[in-house]
Symmetry: C2
Subunit: 278 residues, 2 copies
């Protein structure tokens, strides 16, 4: 029976463990957070807690589900320790700095850079579920830099998770993601800040006026700071461009309001309905 070692038993790592349970793997895990480890054993995400060293030595497949800055810190060292049958993949939301960190590693081929686009605003193993990845998108980056067998093994796991796979350069992935995912997160945190500043001395009034609109637009502000601080920083230049473009469009919308141009605003709202795109 092949051993799968999951490093990081939060929402993503935990859900991978639960999703792979029905397949024939020996799933072991490591996490710096003892609570996560206890929980992972308790609900059966993993069969056994492992030391970091033992996990690297004994796992056929090593999965890194930790914040992106920590992946950048340890991936190069892990690849140097493994043999040419083992496979490593990460699940980070940024990909360029991770791929760059192992570009000249002699074992680069054993690594597959993936991004399962399946996160939710809640974090930690208690939100894990075996359905998290069902029919969700997954991007594999820079696949030509992975050995064909390592790629196949990773794709097999992603098929077990029922994900829809596509392929992309890591650099492009990060540019696109800065608009599709990282900007929406910034938008949500900053809206939440705006609401704080206006209502911090008047929470009661806020609660009496709140509706579904605010709730869905600020949902992402519940996301984990441990996960998202590194994502924003690893992708900061793309993200700054995305925020700047967004600010330009907010300014131009303000101008439409100032000009009281009913027709133009109506056309704008009709055109920029996200249903036309997705």
């Amino acid at each position: 029976m092949k051993t799968i070692g999951i490093i990081g038993l939060g929402l993503i790592g935990g859900s991978i463990g639960l999703s792979l349970k029905k397949y024939n793997y020996n799933i072991i895990g490591f996490d710096f957070n003892k609570k996560n480890l206890d929980y992972a054993i308790k609900i059966g995400i993993i069969k056994k807690v492992s030391s970091f060293k033992n996990l690297i030595e004994t796992s056929s497949i090593i999965i890194l589900s930790i914040p992106v800055n920590e992946i950048v810190k340890i991936l190069d060292g892990i690849l140097k320790k493994i043999n040419n049958k083992q496979v490593v993949f990460d699940t980070g939301s940024t990909k360029y700095s991770i791929c760059k960190s192992v570009f000249s590693n002699i074992n680069r081929g054993r690594f597959v850079a993936i991004h399962p686009i399946a996160g939710i605003e809640n974090s930690g193993p208690k939100y894990s579920n075996s359905n998290l990845f069902y029919k969700k998108n997954c991007i594999i980056c820079d696949k030509k830099l992975s050995d064909p067998d390592a790629l196949l093994i990773t794709e097999k796991i992603l098929n077990f998770l029922k994900m829809d796979i596509s392929y992309m350069r890591s650099k492009d992935h990060d540019i696109y993601m800065s608009y599709i995912s990282h900007l929406p997160h910034v938008i949500s945190f900053v809206l939440s800040r705006t609401i704080f500043e206006k209502f911090m001395y008047d929470k009661k009034k806020l609660i009496k006026m709140v509706g579904n609109g605010l709730i869905s637009t600020t949902r992402l502000s519940k996301s984990s700071p441990n996960t998202w601080t590194p994502i924003f920083l690893e992708n900061k230049y793309n993200l700054i461009n995305a925020i700047s473009l967004y600010i330009n469009f907010l300014e131009s919308f303000k101008n439409l309001l100032l000009k009281k141009n009913f027709e133009k605003i109506h056309k704008y709202l009709k055109k920029y309905n996200i249903n036309e795109m997705i």
Copy 2:
């Protein structure tokens, strides 16, 4: 049996009709859109289609569920035609310009300005449901300007809808709403525009990368232009202030990114979690 006349049989008017069905009212309706009228009869939102004139003459309670600019246009005329037993209330999302339009009307007391905070991104009677208002917030504005009996009758209806009522000045309502509701709508439409500009020639790539984050943050961009163009314009000065404050906070977040200040960003994301407020 008292007659209730609903003018405007979209999502809100339609849902009011359905919610009041089990009570002892003769519910009639008027809409300029023939499709809405046919649909309202078909699914039993109203018992009978009425002419505008007949509805005003025969209804004990007249409900205006039409875009806010149209309320401003017709409310003054309606109040001039009714007697001192009839009651009119509107359901518009802005309140100040509506209240101002009838401030010196001799029948001002027969009008109650309310805002049921229950909209969804879908519009039209086909999305109506009798549960739309259940435990949602409803604001009654400038209640001192309404006759006590008109207020009581309106509150009775809101109790039938199971809404949580609170009271506020119309001017304050519009300021608060510019932050709590109108700004989130602008944010969503403008994010949707940003996504259009970046991906209009590459929809396929967008679809392969999209996740729940973008979906919830752009949900409001599906809202009806007929409803929202007038809301934005009626409340434009408050809204411009809200957008400006929001842009300032976006700029300062960009600066945190530029300074690569991990600690400060982490603290920011931890602090501005909307769960701390609502």
